[in-house]
């Protein structure tokens, strides 16, 4: 990799630091906080904190689904992506306990800045019977394999109110 003469260790938000004189290179610190809403998808994130996996489903009888695995969405969608009618919430926790499997997986060894998941993190895509999508999540306590049966666990004691409140472990026989 190319060598460079930058040092990014100083993140003091008020300092103006000259890095170089020719050409002139200065630091421009940034430390903003965004106030972000989950809006109509809030029940999903609230559900995680209560130990529930909530999905949404299109109940419009006239809807022609694009996919071949039914019409249940996880991540949830407030509106059906096919007919744009409002969806309804359904609890898929039990279904996930019984049928969830790893569709694909990857180990993240080098995360980006602001990462909060313990590293190495086993990233997985989760297929659940009767769910038409394959949600991305994390596996704990095992080496993942394609097809491995898994079940969800939830961060109910100290919730982060993020997708990190959901994780998966190998399914107990």
């Amino acid at each position: 990799m190319a060598k460079h003469d930058y040092d990014f260790s100083n993140l003091n938000p008020t300092a103006t630091v000259l890095r170089k004189l020719d050409p002139i290179v200065i630091e421009k610190p940034r430390a903003p906080i965004h106030i972000h809403t989950y809006g109509g998808e809030s029940p999903f994130f609230r559900g995680l904190t209560e130990g529930k996996l909530l999905a949404t489903r299109c109940v419009n009888k006239k809807c022609k689904p694009a996919g071949k695995e039914g019409h249940v969405f996880l991540p949830p969608r407030v509106y059906c992506p096919d007919c744009l009618e409002r969806t309804e919430w359904i609890d898929v926790t039990e279904r996930a306990r019984k049928t969830a499997r790893i569709h694909t997986h990857i180990t993240v060894a080098h995360p980006g800045a602001f990462n909060r998941v313990p590293i190495p993190c086993e990233l997985i895509s989760v297929e659940i019977e009767g769910v038409s999508t394959i949600i991305m999540s994390q596996l704990r306590g095992a080496k993942p394999e394609i097809g491995m049966p898994i079940e969800p666990v939830f961060e109910t004691a100290h919730p982060t109110f993020t997708i990190l409140d959901l994780a998966w472990v190998p399914r107990k026989a």
Binding site: F8, K68, L74, I106, V108, H110, V117, T133
Partner: protein
């Protein structure tokens, strides 16, 4: 997402022909503190105006033709500058002509061409500039990875490691296991792609890297996200690329050797999670081949049971190729094209793209490399059989060095690919790559063993510009006007 109806699969039309008449770029570097982006943009424009044998008396006369400008720049937070388009437009001295900023992630360059070509095709403009750039060196790699990861869904994906490579690697892993069977032979094919593209970059003065590597170097490089290693991945770059597109009348006024341009676009969900199992359109040569159609039925059936192209291919690339081939009369890309520039963000996604655009059927992408087709000359270094070594390939890929060897300055990438195709079709590869002066301009020395990468008598080229895990893909096809396929 939708069920295909006749409107969805309608073949795009140009109301009048579109031509590309000139191309120019800066060099590409990981860190470029010597120059502001605005300076690099002017340098790319100067090359476009002054080094493409245009029949005008200098820059100002050329500018009198330009009616619109399309600017591709993806990541405002990397550049820390909103409306950078207006800054560049001013530095180029193109005010008060209309201009627009275009952003579609890694496909930004291709999308910029898409819009520019449509401005010409519709008759709105007779001459439009398409320019793209990116500045990714204001933050460290750690923060850079976070910035890139914000192009995933921030609520459902980004929190999971803040690392885009990981989201890509989920697809790679699935492909690797389902079609690659996790085999050393498949791993070797991936490595050959990295070696090939770095080798091409060695002979490209614009390129960010000039080191030759071996298959062993690739396979010993650190794992980024299994099965992807350091050398399997694209670069992060600073730089600018630009082309000029025109109507037929203006094209021939400005140039004796303009090239016909066709650009199409497709998309798929931002989150891989939402890639439902759905039908794909077949490409013309697949449609005509009952064997391939039968094979695809098998992929969907219980034996393989693959949700293709959900996790192992890019439906957006398939859509773009479907539109493009039908629009300009390409039947079989390996037969009808002379060179391609693909979006090799990772070696494995390069393989997946071979299948989406029909260089090989789904699941059989590695054959494009192993057959020697992907090379200008099949390497004689022991990595290919004696029978193939030293022979010309059918459809050389990424002679620029691609994203792995040359650059990935996001907004510029899709335009860089087309610059390279354009110079190849004009038979001017040598002027832009194999002259001492060009290397010295970028503070480099031309290697003594520079390889001649001019494709003999190149008539038709294709470029794929690709965003994220496949949210946007464009397909640009450039052709010599005397070599349009007869449909």
């Amino acid at each position: 997402m939708i069920k295909f109806g006749p409107g969805n699969l309608a073949i795009p039309k140009q109301m009048r022909p579109v031509y590309l008449v000139a191309a120019g770029q800066s060099d590409f570097k990981k860190f470029y503190p010597e120059k502001k982006t605005e300076e690099l943009a002017v340098e790319a424009f100067r090359m476009l105006a002054l080094e493409n044998n245009l029949k005008v008396d200098g820059i100002q006369e050329l500018k009198e033709y330009i009616h619109t400008a399309c600017y591709g720049h993806f990541a405002d937070h990397f550049g820390d500058q909103l409306l950078g388009e207006a800054l560049i437009h001013d530095r180029l001295g193109l005010d008060p002509m209309g201009n627009v900023g275009i952003k579609t992630g890694g496909a930004t360059g291709g999308s910029t061409l898409w819009i520019a070509s449509n401005l010409i095709a519709s008759g709105y403009s007779d001459c439009a500039l398409a320019m793209g750039w990116e500045r990714m060196d204001e933050v460290d790699t750690w923060t850079g990875n976070h910035y890139i990861a914000t192009a995933a869904d921030k609520d459902y994906e980004t929190e999971l490691g803040h690392i885009y490579t990981g989201y890509y690697a989920l697809m790679a892993q699935r492909y690797w296991k389902v079609f690659g069977k996790g085999s050393p032979a498949f791993r070797r094919t991936m490595s050959k792609i990295a070696v090939k593209n770095r080798r091409h970059a060695y002979s490209n003065p614009f390129a960010q890297t000039h080191g030759k590597i071996t298959v062993e170097d690739v396979e010993k490089s650190p794992v980024v996200a299994d099965p992807l290693r350091f050398y399997d991945a694209c670069l992060m770059s600073v730089g600018v690329s630009a082309v000029l597109v025109c109507s037929e009348e203006v094209a021939y006024k400005l140039s004796d050797k303009p090239m016909r341009l066709f650009v199409t676009a497709g998309s798929h969900t931002l989150r891989t999670a939402d890639r439902r199992n759905m039908d794909i359109p077949l490409l013309p040569h697949e449609e005509a081949d009952p064997e391939i159609r039968k094979y695809y039925e098998k992929l969907k059936g219980p034996e393989v049971n693959e949700r293709y192209p959900g996790f192992t291919g890019f439906l957006a690339a398939r859509m773009a190729a479907y539109y493009a081939y039908n629009m300009c009369g390409i039947h079989d890309p390996c037969e009808d094209l002379d060179l391609v520039e693909l979006h090799d963000a990772f070696t494995i996604s390069d393989i997946q793209t071979y299948e989406d655009i029909g260089l090989r059927p789904y699941g059989r992408g590695p054959e494009y490399i192993e057959s020697g087709d992907a090379y200008l000359t099949v390497p004689d270094d022991g990595s290919f059989s004696k029978k193939l070594a030293g022979k010309p390939g059918r459809l050389p890929s990424n002679l620029s060095g691609g994203l792995i060897g040359c650059m990935h300055a996001v907004g510029a990438t899709g335009i860089m690919q087309v610059c390279e195709l354009f110079w190849q079709l004009q038979n001017r590869w040598k002027y832009f790559h194999a002259r001492k002066e060009m290397w010295e301009r970028f503070g480099k020395t031309m290697p003594k063993d520079i390889e001649n990468l001019q494709v003999p008598d190149a008539k038709r080229g294709l470029a794929i510009s690709h965003a994220g895990v496949g949210s946007h893909v464009t397909c640009s096809i450039l052709m010599r006007p005397d070599a349009l396929p007869t449909k």
